[in-house]
Structure formats: C-alpha cells, structure tokens
Amino acid sequence: MPAVLVVDDSKVMREMIGACIRPIERLSIAQASSGLEAIEQLSLGRFDLLVLDLNMPDIGGLEVVEFVRGQDKLRSLPILIVTTRGDESSRAAVMAAGATRFLAKPFTPDTMLGEVNRLLEGAGALG
C-alpha cells in the first residue's frame, strides 16, 4: 500500500495535489504544512514518496531535501519537487541536493498523476 507525503503550506494546494493522485489504487496520502512537520513525519513514519513544495515559511524545500538525503533510511526516498515559474535557480540547487524530479506549476492533473505513478513504480511501491 503506497504511502505519499504531500508537503505544502497552502491547504488548497495540498488538496489539489491529493485530488490529482487519488485514483492510484490503495494509495494513502498524508499531509504536512511545513518543512519541519515534513521532517518529523518522515523520520517517524514510513513513506514511499515525498511531494514537496519549495516555498515554505519555516525551512525551505532545499533544506528539507538536504536533511532527508542526510538520513540513512531516507537516502533513497523518491522526492518530487513542486516549483513555481521563476524558481529556476532554486531548481538547480535542489536537484543537486538530491531531489529526484521536479514539476512546475501550473501542472495538469494528468501530469501530476503520471509523475507520481512513475516515481512509485520506480521505487517498486506499486507492487
């Protein structure tokens, strides 16, 4: 049963992403509204994919990626970064830090679903 953690400080954004990926069978979706909350959940729970927005109040997406990659058990966790147009410079930095893929807003539901499916499949989480 694949588990995804969706992290964005905007509730609307989290719901939208959730709506896009809900069709995936037996998917369980958890939400976090800040980088710190995301790190807490990742360290205490078990997830197959992290969907992460770069732009957050307490610690930014880049720091989250760096922290995650620094943890042994999370080293190979697929990370999908959600960016906004104009974030090109940060995109490079975050990919260098170890994010797996990125998706720029605005994206269509199909695109998001496709990316998530691919990443979960690649991690062998879709069984």
Partner: protein, 695 residues
C-alpha cells in the same frame, strides 16, 4: 498496476477554497507591507517582513497559476522579483517601491473580487506593470559572510541568515535571553500530543522563536527518528518553563550568547547561496532592528462557512415552530391533570433549551471587533498619503464581538467617519502646531459592550471640532442649538460642495449614509458631540441581534414582501390558461393547480394566504415554488421585483409574533417590509386544506 488517467479533474473546482486562502494571504501581505512601511519611516529595514512578504507573494503566484488566473500570476511574478532582490540585499525597498507594492496588492485584490463575482478578470494594467518593472533589479551574487557571536556549532550557524543572527544577538542585548532548546520527536511523544506543531505553539507562547533547525542525531530509543529540532529563542521565561514546553530536560536549554568576556566570538559562516533562502546582507548599518511585532498566537480557531451556520439556524427555527405547536397542543389538554402539568413543565424547559441553543448558534457567527478594526490601518495609509496629514490611529476593541454580517455593514460606516475625521476634522501639522497641538493627530476608536444586546463604538478625533456658526452659514440655516440638532444638519443628504469647500471643520458628504446604515438598517443609534478646538466624537450604538439574508423582494397586491432566497426552489411564470382548477366543494372554488416538470403543484394566491379568503383575487403572473418536505406549493404573486441582501430584524414583541413572519426589513423607503417564511406557511396551509377536506 497500469497507469490510470485521472477522470477529468478540473482544478477550477477549487476556486472557492482558492479565494478563501488567497484572501488570507493578501491580508497577511498587506500586513507585512504596512510593517515594512512603518520600519522605513523609522529609518530601519525589516528583513523578516520582506522575506515573509516575498514568500506570501510566491505562494499567491503558484496557487493562482494552478487555478489559471493569469492576470494575478503576471502581477505576482513581478512583485516577487522586486521582493526577491530586496530579500537578497541587492536593492533594499524604498518608499516609492513600497507604494508600488501596495498598488500591486490592490490590483490583485480587485481581481480576486471580480473572480468571486463570476465576472471576467481584467488583465493587469500596463501602467502598473511598467511601474513594477521599474523597481525590479537583477538578483545579486553572494557577498562576504557576516560574523556572529553565537555559541553554536558551525553546521547550525551556517543555516542562519544574517538577520536571524542579528536578531538573536540584539534580542539578548535588550534584556531577553537568547537560548536554544531541543525537541526530540518520537511516537510516544506524539501519542502524548507533543508534535513539532504543538511544541512550536507552546514554546511560541513563552518565547520568540527566531528559527527552528532540524538536526540529525544517532537513532536511539529516545530518538527513534534520528532527528532532533533545535529551537533558537529569545525569551524572558526561565529554563524550566522552556524545557517543559519543549518536552526536554531543563539542562538541554542552553544560552546562545556568551556572557561578556567569557568566550571568544565564533565566526559564523554566511548562509550559502540558496534557491529560496535568504542572502547575506553586508553589515551596512548598525541600526537596531525595529522591535518585532510578536507573532499572533494561533487561537483555537475553525474556519466555518457562514452558510452552514445559517443552515443550522434554519433547522433551529423549525424546531421552535414545532415547540409552539406542542405547547398549544398541551394547553388544549385538560389543565387539571397532573400529567398535563408535568408536560407543561417539560415543554417550558424545552423552550428554554431552544433559546439557549439559538444563542449559542448566534455566537458562532460572532467575530471579534478587533478583527474588523485590523482592516483600518491599510485604509488609513492611503488616506494619510492623499491628505498630507499626520495621523495616528488608536483602537481599543476590548473583548467586544459582533455578528459577522453586522460587522460587514458597520465597517464602511467606520471608514467614512475615520476618513472624515482626517480630511475635515484634522488640521495640517502646521495648523496644529499653531494651535499648540502635537503635529500628529490622533483618531481613537473605542468599543465597549453597552449591554448584552448593544455595542457602543466611539470614533473620536483631537482635531478642530465642528464650528456650528460656520456650518450654519455654509448651509444657510440656523445654528444648531444642541448636539442632536447638529447631527441632523450633518446628516442632511448632499451638503453642497460649495459648503464643503467653505466648511473649515465640518464633515463632508456621507454622514447621511452612516446614519442610514446605523439607524435605519441596523436599528441602532448615532449621536455626535463636538466642541470647537477640542475635536469631535461620534457614538454608534449597534444592536447585536440582526441577521442578513439574501432575499427576493416581491409585489403582492398593495404591499411588498421579502422572501429568503434559500427557501425558494424556483420562480415560475404563470400562464393563466395553463392553470387547472380541482373540484370545489360547497360552492367554494377548487384548488388551483399548475404543472411543473411533471409534478402537479397547488398554486395559492399569496395575497389570499395572508389576508384571508376575502381578499380580492388578483392575476398571479409569477409564483415562488417552496417545498416543505415532500410537499411543494407555488405562491402566486404579481411580480418578483429584485434579489438583494436585506438586514432582517426579528419582530420581538408578542403582539406581532406570527408563524410565517420571520421579521422585518427596511428596503430603503423607511417603512418596515415583512420578511415571510413561506415554508412555515406551507405547513399551515397543509393543515387548513386537510381541515377543509375533513369538514
């Protein structure tokens, strides 16, 4: 598992949620912009507010892109560039830049409002875009790292921005202590309610949280996640309190700033070039940072759709009607029986419980008056700029609360009064100096609960006061003898513009609107007190028991009525030829029937329902279809006139408490118009019809 194409998910279905969130972001953005503006006036920068504002605008941009509101994305994108450059220290914001920022935020707000109304969202004005571009600068390269004197490991220090270091150091200088505390999350702690969110809240109420840094530690029984959160704080609380809030050992709370002379300064690495993080700012000025506005502590607050509260109120009204019927039925029983006495007691208690429930529901709609007032600083900012006067706003809301709908109505009245106070009541700084007053004028808004049914709001200014002689001369009338007469003159609609120009201290147009809102619509009271040279005070008394309904106004015979939109299923046109009459009885006319979507619906003349069978039957051209349970009924009337928001005041006197009459409203003609609850009437009708059949 193959890939499944998501069924046409339309992200525009999130529009309502988007609007609500965007509004919140916009309010926060304006708030930060005001902070930046205030700081600039004091000659300081406000890096935290700049960073916050940058992030908020970035969020608005991303969200707006997802729901495809391109004009907002365009404005937000440019706004973001200006803020990114400011955040990275390349081009600090100047007052003209801040003004453009306000303008851009206003442009975004206008487009949100258009979206809300379902109107077309206008493209961003070229002039605004041009002005925004003027202030944009290219983003800079990293500059030299700053030094810090914080007792922290280099790995942690490297994650702090310069302004955060400065904040910790200066905070320690002004009497508070800079300390670090650790929170180690675990499933056990989470079960006890200690999560990063709850700990942030608890610690936040004791201290100012400058930064929270996640630190990897070796996994252990106490730290199964291999994670610990390091809180960097400024506080006056003691270590034991902080430790308790963070769920750690008091020994784990450590000072960050060494006592003077003890430890050699540790050079902190500057923050590396980060994508969305901050940039090192060359230590230019040694100015103290503006005192930070403490973060508003999150109350335990729920966002509720007002419609849901109204729905609950409707259900309650139905309960109340049922209770009346029960009471009547009980009173018809043999009053001497003990069983009946007990029933009566129970019915009375039920009535009391319903009253309590109604009060509780009404409380849900209450918003703190302070929230209403928090929108004023932004308006004041603009009025100050255009009038060239220096004004300070002081507000005292205490714990006062009022119904959200009433608050929405009162706010424009307050804005009117504040604007007038500044435009007309206040002199320029030079004039004030001549009068021996401080150059900065003060407008004070004071709110107190006058009784548990009324709120008293005073708007006071320390300006020139109203000169009655001048006012009388300007309007060519008598000098008002007392405050009540003065108010009458001020509220005269359309004080002429010539009079406005010659009035040295009077109020301009708009007072008649204030009175209309406060007195006619809300049923409150308005009074004024003014002395030349001493300023003016307006006092508003607002009753707390009104509600606002979306209603259809209809013409029925000689009278107009208002009918809540929420109970009307449909408005149908009546073709007299398509009306069928059922069989009559005993010489009386049968029930009229119409057909609608395959359903046969009784058509009753609203005039007759209200005035009895003796009323002359008029030709019904339109009908409102109302459904109660499974029974639809069409109420025929001449014409539906309009749909509008109405303030409904309950009819409280027992003489006029009639089932089916929800209250009265003022449609602007000064005469009360009844608000009808046709659903209740359907119930009453049903009984009548069944009664007739049985006869």
């Amino acid at each position: 598992m193959g890939e499944r194409v998501s069924e046409r998910i339309d992200l525009r279905g999130f529009l309502t949620a988007y609007l609500a969130e965007a509004d919140e972001h916009l309010a926060a953005a304006n708030d930060r912009a005001l902070s930046i503006d205030a700081s600039l006036k004091g000659g300081a920068a406000n890096p935290r507010a700049v960073r916050d504002l940058f992030r908020i605008v970035h969020t608005i941009k991303g969200l707006s892109a997802m729901v495809a509101v391109e004009p907002i994305v365009v404005v937000a994108h440019r706004l973001e560039s200006i803020l990114r450059a400011a955040d990275r220290g390349a081009s600090p914001l100047t007052p003209p830049a801040v003004e453009v920022i306000f303008e851009a935020l206003r442009a975004i707000e206008q487009r949100l409002r258009a979206l809300e109304k379902g109107a077309e969202v206008p493209a961003a004005a070229q002039s605004l875009i041009a002005r925004l571009d003027e202030h944009a600068r290219p983003t800079p390269l990293p500059s030299a790292p700053a030094e810090a004197t914080l007792d922290l490991p280099p790995a942690v220090l490297s994650k702090l921005a310069a302004f955060e270091c400065e904040q910790l150091v200066h905070g320690a200088a002004d009497g508070r202590r800079a300390v670090s505390a650790e929170f180690v999350p675990s499933p056990r702690k989470a079960a006890e309610g200690l999560t990063i969110n709850s700990v942030r809240e608890r610690v936040g109420s004791l201290a100012e949280i400058v930064k929270v840094i996640p630190v990897a530690i070796a996994p252990s029984e106490a730290a199964p996640g291999g994670l610990s959160f390091l809180f960097l704080l400024l506080t006056s609380a003691d270590d034991v309190e902080i430790a308790a809030a963070a769920g750690c050992d008091p020994g784990a709370v450590r000072p960050l700033v060494a006592p003077p002379g003890a430890v050699a300064p540790v050079a902190g690495g500057g923050e590396e070039r980060r994508g969305d993080g901050g940039e090192e700012r060359p230590p230019s000025d040694g100015d103290a940072l503006d005192p930070e506005v403490p973060e508003a502590h999150a109350r335990s607050v729920l966002r509720v759709d007002v419609g849901r509260v109204d729905e609950a109120m409707d259900r309650l009204s139905a309960l109340i009607v049922t209770r009346s019927r029960l009471a009547r039925a009980v009173s018809a029983l043999d009053a001497s029986s003990a069983v009946v006495r007990e029933l009566s007691i129970i019915v009375q208690e039920n009535a009391r419980q319903l009253r309590d429930l109604r009060a509780a529901l009404l409380r849900i709609r209450m918003v703190p008056f302070a929230e209403v007032l928090s929108r004023l600083p932004l308006i004041l900012h603009h009025v100050r700029r255009t009038s060239g006067k220096e004004v300070r706003l002081e507000t005292y809301a205490a714990e006062a609360e009022l119904d959200k709908a009433v608050a929405e109505r009162v706010f424009p009245a307050l804005v009117h009064l504040v604007r007038n106070a500044i435009d007309h009541g206040m002199g320029t700084p030079e004039e004030r100096a001549r009068e021996g007053k401080p150059p900065e004028g003060t407008v004070r808004i004071l709110c107190s609960a006058r009784s548990n049914r009324h709120l008293a709001i005073q708007v006071n200014d320390d300006g020139r006061g109203i000169d009655r002689q001048v006012l009388a001369r300007a309007i060519g009338g008598e000098v008002p003898a007392n405050d009540a007469a003065l108010l009458e003159v001020l509220c005269r609609p359309g004080l002429s513009t010539r009079a406005q120009a010659t009035l040295t201290s009077g109020r301009g147009m708009g007072m008649d609107i204030v009175r209309k809102i406060v007195v006619d619509q809300l049923g409150g009271d308005l009074s004024v007190h003014s002395s030349p040279g001493e300023g003016t005070t307006f006092t508003l008394h607002i009753p707390l028991t009104v509600s606002i309904l979306d209603a259809f106004t209809v013409q029925c015979g000689e009278q107009r009525f208002a009918i809540p939109v929420s109970i009307v299923e449909e408005i149908v046109e009546i073709d007299p030829r398509a009306v069928v009459r059922g069989p009559g009885r005993g010489g009386a006319e049968g029930t009229a029937l119409i057909e609608r979507r395959g359903e046969t619906i009784p058509l009753v003349d609203l005039a007759r329902v209200l005035d009895g069978a003796a009323a002359p039957r008029r030709e019904a051209l339109q009908a409102l279809v109302v459904r109660r349970g499974a029974e639809p009924v069409a109420f025929g009337l001449e014409r539906v006139l309009a749909q509008q928001e109405t303030v409904v005041r309950p009819l409280v006197d027992p003489l006029v408490q009639v089932p089916g009459i929800a209250g009265s409203t003022d449609l602007g003609d000064g005469r009360p118009t009844l608000v009808l609850d046709l659903v209740v009437m359907v119930a009453a009708l049903g009984r009548t019809l069944r009664g007739e059949r049985a006869a």
